[in-house]
């Protein structure tokens, strides 16, 4: 038995226990990233082979405005989805956090249950829901509105992205909201704060770290989405994920696909770093104010 009271052994034991997790991360995250990073400098041949070697040509090709345009559109979509998910996630999380303690876990499980189904199946479900034979359009026709099918449309893409990433937003916001002392709400009410002021001055500032996590956890993976825009958006406006797939497959150009992946990765890291800096600046300001 390790004597947990002795700091040195406990530290060693701690590292030992970390080992499996570190090994998994190294094997499944770091190794593939290193391979992609290496490939992004490799030379490709027209048959789809990867010839190795070293070249900056792949990155030079990405200077084509076509890529900047797609990247810009993808960043915009990701940002929109992050905001929409966080706003809706805030409402859901607030609802759950203000229920009795016993019902909260049940509601959280309900949020997760749909996600035990395959991602692709859920996306196809949206085609049925919003398509011309679906319940939504049928309802509109029933009340006399001759609505066209909502698939493909930007609205369908936005809705389905919201659906895909909502739980990711709910969880961190809920976590930070749970730690808010309920008596603060009562105090605010006593002091005459209305609904808007209670949220704007108490709940939102106190759940800021959860909101920030929610924004990052939805923004980053949305940049990698490629199935939803094809199935629900008609595939006319590709996201950067679609371009990467095309480069790796139809264009038989692994190195160029790898280079574009690296650019996306760097953009993701930059956005995470920026969010971190903003949060730190905020908490420093708060600490200074006290």
């Amino acid at each position: 038995m390790v004597d947990v009271n002795t700091p040195r052994t406990s530290r060693a034991a701690g590292y030992l226990m970390l080992l499996p997790a570190v090994a998994v991360i190294a094997l499944l995250v770091i190794v593939p990233m290193v391979v992609i990073a290496r490939d992004s400098f490799a030379v490709s041949d027209p048959l789809g082979g990867n010839l190795g070697g070293f070249t900056l040509d792949n990155y030079a090709k990405l200077l084509d405005p076509v890529y900047a345009k797609t990247l810009g559109y993808s960043l915009g979509m990701a940002a929109l989805n992050a905001v929409v998910c966080t706003v809706v996630g805030y409402i859901v999380a607030h609802y759950i956090a203000t229920r009795p303690a016993k019902t909260q876990p049940v509601l959280l499980v309900l949020v997760i249950i749909p996600f035990l189904t395959d991602f692709l199946v859920r996306t196809f479900a949206w085609i049925t829901l919003l398509g011309s034979g679906g319940p939504f359009i049928s309802l509109l026709r029933l009340v006399g509105v001759d609505a066209p099918s909502l698939v493909p449309s930007q609205l369908a893409v936005t809705l389905s992205l919201l659906y895909a990433f909502l739980p990711v937003a709910v969880f961190p916001i809920y976590a930070s909201m749970r730690s808010i002392d309920p008596s603060l709400k009562e105090a605010a009410a006593d002091l005459g704060a209305g609904w808007w002021q209670t949220h704007a001055r108490i709940f939102v500032p106190l759940s800021a770290s959860g909101l920030a996590s929610s924004v990052m956890l939805t923004f980053v993976p949305t940049l990698g989405v490629f199935v939803i825009p094809v199935l629900l958006g008609g595939g006319k406006d590709p996201l950067v994920g679609n371009l990467i797939v095309t480069l790796f497959t139809e264009f038989r150009n692994e190195p160029l696909g790898a280079a574009l992946s690296m650019v996306v990765l760097v953009l993701m890291l930059l956005s995470v770093a920026a969010a971190g800096l903003i949060l730190r600046a905020r908490s420093n300001r708060k600490a200074g104010a006290v």
Binding site: I112, P167, S179, K236, T246, F251, R252
Partner: protein, 357 residues
């Protein structure tokens, strides 16, 4: 339930969402009973009916494993990585060319084949594999137009109808570069196998001009869209899904455009360096039998390359369905889409522009 657990849950969900999208391509497999030897086949999803596998296993005692792919590129990259463990693969015509050049498939010893003369004429000595040195065609089809007459209100005859502004928002193109260029080239009276830079640029201009009319690019559920009328007209591959759409709705038709036709064919090839060469040849010979080849039509709604198989198809309405067997007279000018070689760069450059426009 503390914060860290919740944060972890959120990260796990996020990655599960992304990862499950990656695995959407999917590898299904089926295995048979034990017996003498084994054979591992890597084939297009839905192109080898279970009846063929079961029959082969029952007769030879060979244990067959089938994995499936949904793009040639996926299959090639898996084989190129080495040690794939596959014995037989099923590349499309241009993929045969690529795999021969990359030494991924072995030369076929014709003296070991029985029933090779059952193949229909257009699959013997094809342009993509002269002399059938590396591939034995199994299933074939066409790239054409699927349309819903209730929606178009008129008969559709060719690619030019896909540039008709009356159908704006209800025109769908295949989400595949070379397939999209078939329409782009042929609508201009050019050959679908052109490798000329100026001709490809002309096709690119046509595709750019067409884009505002499109409902989208779709290779997944275009047949459903045409069936419901959400799409009036769609570029389509013949075969299972198009055939079902034609059968299910009398307004849905599949045609070979008057500007020209193109053929695709998926063939069996033996993987270079296979450990089960004998079993692989047994597979080639088994699938060359007319009564076995007929099953690809009966059980998978695909056209068989086997001329002797046609009369053995149990459900002859399938042979008459143009979305499975295109009428012979519509194929007089048809050609196989072959690998564009160095011209691939012109297609890529143009396609990137079309997609991002």
């Amino acid at each position: 339930m503390n914060k860290k657990f919740l944060a972890f849950g959120a990260v796990a969900l996020a990655s599960a969402t992304v990862l499950s999208a990656c695995s959407a391509g999917g590898d299904a497999s089926s295995t048979g009973g034990a017996g003498s030897g084994s054979l591992s086949i890597y084939a297009w999803a839905g192109e080898i009916p279970d009846s063929v596998i079961e029959g082969f296993e029952a007769e030879t005692g060979i244990d067959v494993t089938v994995d499936t792919f949904d793009s040639n590129e996926t299959m090639i990259s898996k084989l190129a990585a080495g040690n794939s463990g596959y014995d037989v693969v099923e590349p499309s015509q241009y993929a045969v060319q690529l795999m021969v050049e990359r030494d991924l498939i072995a030369e076929i010893d014709k003296s070991k084949l029985e029933g090779f003369d059952n193949l229909a004429e257009k699959f013997v000595d094809p342009s993509f594999d002269p002399g059938n040195t590396h591939s034995i065609p199994w299933a074939w089809g066409t790239t054409g137009i699927l349309y819903n007459e209730a929606c178009t209100g008129a008969e559709v005859t060719g690619w030019s109808d896909m540039w008709n502004p009356d159908y704006a928002g209800k025109v769908y193109m295949l989400d595949n570069m070379l397939s999209a260029y078939i329409a782009g080239l042929q609508v201009n009276g050019l050959s679908a196998t052109s490798t000329d830079e100026a001709e490809i640029a002309t096709a690119t201009d046509s595709l750019l001009e067409q884009k505002p009319l499109l409902g989208g690019y779709n290779s997944t559920n275009y047949a459903d869209l045409v069936g419901t009328g959400d799409a009036c007209i769609a570029e389509a591959y013949s075969g299972t899904t198009s055939a079902k759409a034609v059968e299910a709705n009398p307004d849905v038709h599949y045609i070979i455009p008057e500007e020209g036709g193109t053929l695709w064919t998926d063939s069996f090839s033996i993987v270079e360096g296979t450990a089960n060469e004998d079993a692989a040849y047994q597979w080639l010979n088994y699938t060359l039998r007319p009564e076995v080849a007929a099953l690809v039509t009966d059980d998978a709604s695909l056209a068989s390359t086997n001329a002797a198989a046609l009369e053995l198809v149990a459900d002859q309405s399938q042979v008459e369905n143009p979305a499975i067997y295109a009428p012979a007279d519509s194929l007089t000018n048809s050609e196989f889409i072959v690998d564009p070689g160095d011209a691939l760069a012109y297609f890529q450059d143009g396609w990137t522009r079309v997609r991002a426009s």
